[in-house]
Symmetry: C3
Subunit: 165 residues, 3 copies
């Protein structure tokens, strides 16, 4: 069983995804795969708030790049928080789009129960710098690839979730 | 009874919210709380169009900052048009995020029937200036806070509304 | 019968609209109105991928500006791919907003069966340049105008479609 939570910045998707996997896990302690790599003060504060919310409900794994490797060894269920940061890290380390999507495809074929979180970034004006456009395209392709493998897909807005699949 | 209309620029959310509150009011004349403060030519034209559409259907109150004070004295039902502009005004006048959200929380606990309009701004690429990022975060938190107090939440797009709650 | 597919960049709206019109056409070969005018390398690659996907399933017409003229002569069903590019071309050639919307209104009153694709661009932070703001406003007005004439409107995200009307 795989589920995608997508939505905008501060749409409540992380909170909704956490509540959802805890309910699905039915008492088992789920894994929490944190993909954040680059940390400034602003980010540190966000991470602190996220950690506080997780408390002791999850087993946290921190891995910014090797998504497939971690998921292959993870018995699940696992919350991947988040795919957007992982895409960003991959681009930063020079990975090619085709390789990024191939790794994601392989990860989605694992039997492990997963809840994935991804920022929807394509609903604003098209950015005028090429790197941002590349990211928007890659993010949309990743969203489509993930959604195709998911039994459920939720679009989040204002702390609410709307089931698209 | 509280209702949130959210959506993008020119999604039809204001028009839909006006039609909705007029229908809910059932013949009573609702209040219209206009929060716009800073007015250039472009804005003046938008206001003119909005006013023209309202005609004599509403009792208009103009208040850019003191949302809670106005709503405490308003018997309702009231259309708050819009929260996004009020957030913008608060930041301009140097209000702290915690205080802004506390005032909003207090306003949402009033018994007055309200329809609130808020721009969804978090579904594009994350802006590269810190002030815009702060605004996007604040807007998302405000949306979640409001939606938690609303019986109904609508996401608007292409002049149509989709009920999320 | 008219249908609008809207959504963000790489939301799958073009692919979904193509599959939809082919299913609706029931064996007839639909027209494909391609509105792209300005072509750089990035765009050329996008067009190549689109063409490849269409293969021999459509009769392609290329017209960047004269939307109404082409649609008046088209027996349909026709996929208009896309309105966003047509709006962009019209602005580039100096057309006034009122004239653009009047041409669109006339096109939507034609009896021809149409499926239209339009980028939703209004859900990010409001752009700080006036031309981009003008485009966002025009795009939203066009979306509302089209949706008002459509029997069905779909919001697309992550390769999935959500029926709004």
């Amino acid at each position: 069983m795989k589920t995608l939570f997508t939505g905008g910045v501060k749409s409540g998707k992380s909170h909704l995804a956490e509540a959802y996997i805890l309910e699905q896990a039915g008492g088992r302690k789920p894994y929490y795969l944190a993909t954040t790599e680059f940390v400034d003060d602003e980010m540190r504060e966000r991470i602190r708030i996220h950690r506080q919310r997780r408390q002791d409900a999850f087993v946290t794994i921190e891995e910014p790049v090797n998504l497939l490797g971690v998921l292959q060894r993870c018995p699940g269920p696992v919350l991947v928080e988040c795919i957007s940061m992982w895409l960003n890290n991959q681009l930063y380390h020079g990975a090619m789009e085709a390789d990024i999507l191939a790794e994601l495809e392989a990860a989605m074929q694992l039997p492990c129960a997963m809840v994935l979180v991804l920022n929807e970034v394509g609903l604003g004006i098209i950015p005028d710098n090429a790197l941002a456009r590349q990211y928007v395209d890659l993010s949309g392709r990743a969203a489509q690839l993930i959604a195709a493998h998911c039994e459920r897909v939720f679009f989040c807005c204002a702390g609410l979730k709307l089931q698209m699949k």
